[in-house]
Amino acid sequence: MFKNRMLWSSLLVTLMIFLAACGNSSTNSPSGSNKGEEAADKKVELRMMWWGSQARHEATLKVIDLFEGKNPNISINAEYLGADGYWDKLNTQIAGGNAPDLIQLGNNYPDYVSRGTLLELDPFMGNEINLSDFDEAIATSGKLNDKQYGINLGSNALGIVYNTELIKKAGMEPPKAGLSWDELEQYSKELVAKLGSGYYAFADQSAFTHYVGHYVRQSGKALFDGTSISFDEADMTSWFEMWKRFRDEGIIPSAEKSAAYLEVAPDNSMLVEGKTAMVVMWSNQLKAFQEAMQDELEMIPLPSGGTEKGMWIQPSQFLGVSAKTEHGKEAAAFINFFVNDPEATAILSSDRGIPGSKVVREALKANAEPIVLKTYNYLDVAAEQSREMDREMPNIAEWDAALKNAAQKIAFGAASAQESAQEALKAAQAAAAKAK
C-alpha cells in the first residue's frame, strides 16, 4: 500500500511541475535565418510577412509568383495572417533573431526604427528602388530622420461611410459632405426617429484612435506632435461627453451592442447587417464592406468643426526590410517590383490604399471597378479637407487598449467622462514617455 501512495504522489508532483511549466515553453519556429555566404548560382531565399484579408493574401501571393517567374534565382516564402496577432508574431520573430526579410509595416514603423530593426534603404534608392513616379510627399513618408526605412504601399483617408438604402428608407436626403458635428447630430436624430427602434444613425466609435486624432486636430492640436502628447484633459472630456450625449439620445447603439460589434471588419458589423446607417472607416476598407452587403455604400469626409482641418491623407502601409537580412539587394528589388511593375500593381490594385506612383494610379483608375473608383474619388475630396499628418503616437497599442477601456467605462456607467479622460490621457503620456 505504501507503494501505491508513493506512486500517486510522484505522479502528482511530476504532473504539477509539468503543468506549471507548460506556459513557459517558447514557440520559436525552427526555420533559422539563411546561412550566409551562399554561392552566386545558389537560390536566394527571402521571407515576407504581411497582414490583411483573404483578398490581399491571394493578390500578394500572385505577385510573389510573378516575381519568382521573372527572377528564377530568388524565391520568396510568404507568411501572412489577419491583423489580429500580426504584431505579436512579428515582435516574437524579431526577438528570436528570426525576422522576415520583407516586413509590412504601418505608421508605427518608427517604433521599429528606434529599436534598430529596419534596414536603411538609402543605398538602394535610385538603384534597385526607383520612386521617380511617386508623389514627393508619399515617397518621403517612409523617411525618418532623413533616412528611408520603408516604401509606401498606399494612402488612405478616414471618412464616414453610409448606407444609401437605409437613408432612402427613412425618406431622407443623404448626409452632405462637409457637415459639422452639430449637423451630424441633428441629422442623426431625425434619421433614428424615422427608422424606428432597432436602428442606429452611426456606430459608437468613441474609442477609435484616429477619430480622436481628427477631433483634437480640429482645434490645432495632435495626439502626438512628434515629441510629446499634445492634447489635454479638456479635449478628451469634451470628446467623451459628446459621445455620451449621442448614446443618451439613442443615435448610437447601447454599450453592450457596441462591445459586441467592433465595426472594424465586415464580419462583425451592424453596418453590414443593415442596422446602423453610418460608420467611420479608412477608405481602403470601403471595398471589403461593400462586397459584404447588398445596399450601396457612399463615403463623405469626417464631420467638420473647430478652427482647423482635422483630416489627413495617411500613407498607411509600408514595406520595409529587416536590418538582419543578408539579401538587402534582392529585397529592395522586390519592393521596387511591388510598387512599380505594371502587372504586379494591377494585381495588387488599391487593396493597401491608393498607390503612391502617379503612373500606377492612372493605369488603375482607367480599369477600375466602380467601388474602387469611388475610393479614388473620395481621396480627392478628402485631400481638400486635409492638412499635414502627424507622426503616429509611439507604442500606440498601449494607448489603444487604454482608450477602449476608458470609453467603455463611460458607456457601461462605470466612470464619468472626466475620469475616463484623465485615464486616457495618462495612458497616452505613459506610452509616449516609454519611447524616450
Binding site: M1, F2, N4, R5, W8, L12, L15, M16, L19, A20, A21, C22, G23, N24, S25, S26, D84, G85, W87, D88, N91, T92, I94, A95, D111, Y112, R115, G116, T117, A255, E256, K257, A259, A260, L262, N395, A397, E398, A401, K404, N405, Q408, K409, F412, A414, K434
Partner: protein
C-alpha cells in the same frame, strides 16, 4: 582519510548505479533533453529577464526588482488578479461538482456506458479549441441561441452575456465547467474502486442516500478529489485561450475578462514589456505554488487513504 574513503565509496556507488541504470537513462534521454532545452532553459532565462527591462528588440537592461515593485501599483495587474481569482474559485468547484454528479449518474450500472463516457468527454477534447470559443460567443452573444430561447420561452429580454462587463466572466466560467470530461473520467474510475460491501453494510444499518454519500463516497473518493482539485486549480490559474478568443484578445469589455495570462501576453507581445511579463509569469508561479501548498498542507485533514496514509 575518513572523508576520502567516504567519497570514494560514494563514487563507487554512483558508478554501480550508472552501470545498472545506463540503459534506462538512455531511454529517458529524449525526455531530459526536452525538459532542459524547452522547459528549464526558458524558465531560467525568463527569471533573468524578470529583473530587466526588455522590449524584445533591443538588448535587455538590468533594473533589479523594479518590475516586481511596479506590479503592486499597476491597476490593470490588480484587475487581472481579481478576474483570475474569480475565475478559479468559481470554475474549479463548479466543474468538480458537476463532474462528480455526472460520474455518479454514470456509475449506476447503466447500459451503453462507454458511449456516454465518450459523449461527455467530447467537450474536453474540443474545449481548448478556437472553434468552441467562437461558438460560445455566438451562443451567449446578444442575438445568440440562449437569448433567443429566453425571449421566446420566458419572454425575458436577457443581456448580451459576452459583451456585458458584469457577466462576461461567467460565460467563460460556464465554458470551463462544460469541459468537465477529464475530471469525470477520473471520478468514475475512483467510484468503481469503492467496495460495494461498504454500501451494502451501511444500507443494512439503515443509512440513507445522503448519509451514504457523505460518509462513504466522499471519504473513499477523497484522494481522487484531491488529485482533481490540484490539477484543475493549476490549469485554471493558467487559463488563456477562452478569454483570448471570446474577448478578441483584449480582455474586454472594461477588462472584465483580463485574465492574468492574457495581461501577461499583452504586456509582453503587444506593449514591448517582456521583462515585466516575465516578472508576471514568476508571480503566477508563486501564486500557484502557494495554493498548491495549501491544498497539500490541508490534505491530511480531509484526504482519506484506505491504508491510513502509510
Amino acid at each position: 582519510m575518513k572523508q576520502s574513503a567516504k567519497s570514494n565509496r560514494t563514487s563507487m556507488y554512483l558508478k554501480g548505479l550508472w552501470k545498472k541504470n545506463a540503459v534506462p537513462y538512455l531511454f529517458l534521454l529524449p525526455w531530459f533533453l526536452g525538459v532542459f532545452a524547452l522547459t528549464i532553459g526558458p524558465m531560467i532565462s525568463s527569471l533573468y529577464l524578470s529583473f530587466t527591462q526588455y522590449d524584445m528588440l533591443t538588448p535587455s537592461k538590468w533594473i533589479g526588482t523594479e518590475n516586481y515593485a511596479r506590479m503592486l501599483d499597476d491597476p490593470r495587474y490588480m484587475q487581472s488578479l481579481k478576474v483570475t481569482f474569480t475565475y478559479v474559485f468559481a470554475s474549479v468547484p463548479l466543474k468538480l461538482i458537476f463532474a462528480l454528479a455526472v460520474a455518479m449518474l454514470l456509475n449506476k450500472g447503466i447500459r451503453a456506458l462507454p458511449l456516454y463516457r465518450t459523449v461527455y468527454y467530447i467537450p474536453t477534447l474540443l474545449g481548448g479549441s478556437v472553434a468552441i470559443a467562437v461558438l460560445w460567443r455566438k451562443m451567449f452573444g446578444g442575438g445568440g441561441v440562449l437569448n433567443e430561447f429566453l425571449l421566446s420561452v420566458f419572454g425575458i429580454q436577457a443581456p448580451d452575456w459576452v459583451s456585458n462587463p458584469k457577466y462576461a466572466i461567467y460565460s467563460i466560467i460556464a465554458l470551463t465547467v462544460w469541459q468537465f470530461g477529464s475530471s469525470m473520467i477520473i471520478f468514475l474510475a475512483g467510484l468503481k474502486q469503492i467496495p460495494m460491501e461498504l454500501y451494502e453494510a451501511s444500507q443494512v444499518d439503515g443509512a440513507g442516500r445522503m448519509r451514504r454519500f457523505f460518509n462513504i463516497t466522499i471519504p473513499m473518493l477523497s484522494p481522487v478529489i484531491f488529485f482533481n482539485l490540484v490539477i484543475q486549480l493549476i490549469t485554471a490559474f493558467q487559463a488563456f485561450t477562452p478569454a483570448f478568443i471570446i474577448s478578441g484578445g483584449k480582455g474586454g469589455p472594461i477588462d472584465s475578462t483580463l485574465f492574468y495570462t492574457l495581461y501577461l501576453y499583452q504586456k509582453g507581445f503587444a506593449f514591448f514589456e517582456m521583462g515585466y511579463a516575465s516578472a508576471m509569469a514568476w508571480g503566477l508561479l508563486v501564486i500557484i505554488a502557494i495554493f498548491t501548498a495549501i491544498i497539500f498542507g490541508t490534505s491530511k485533514y480531509w484526504v482519506n487513504y484506505a491504508d491510513g496514509g502509510k
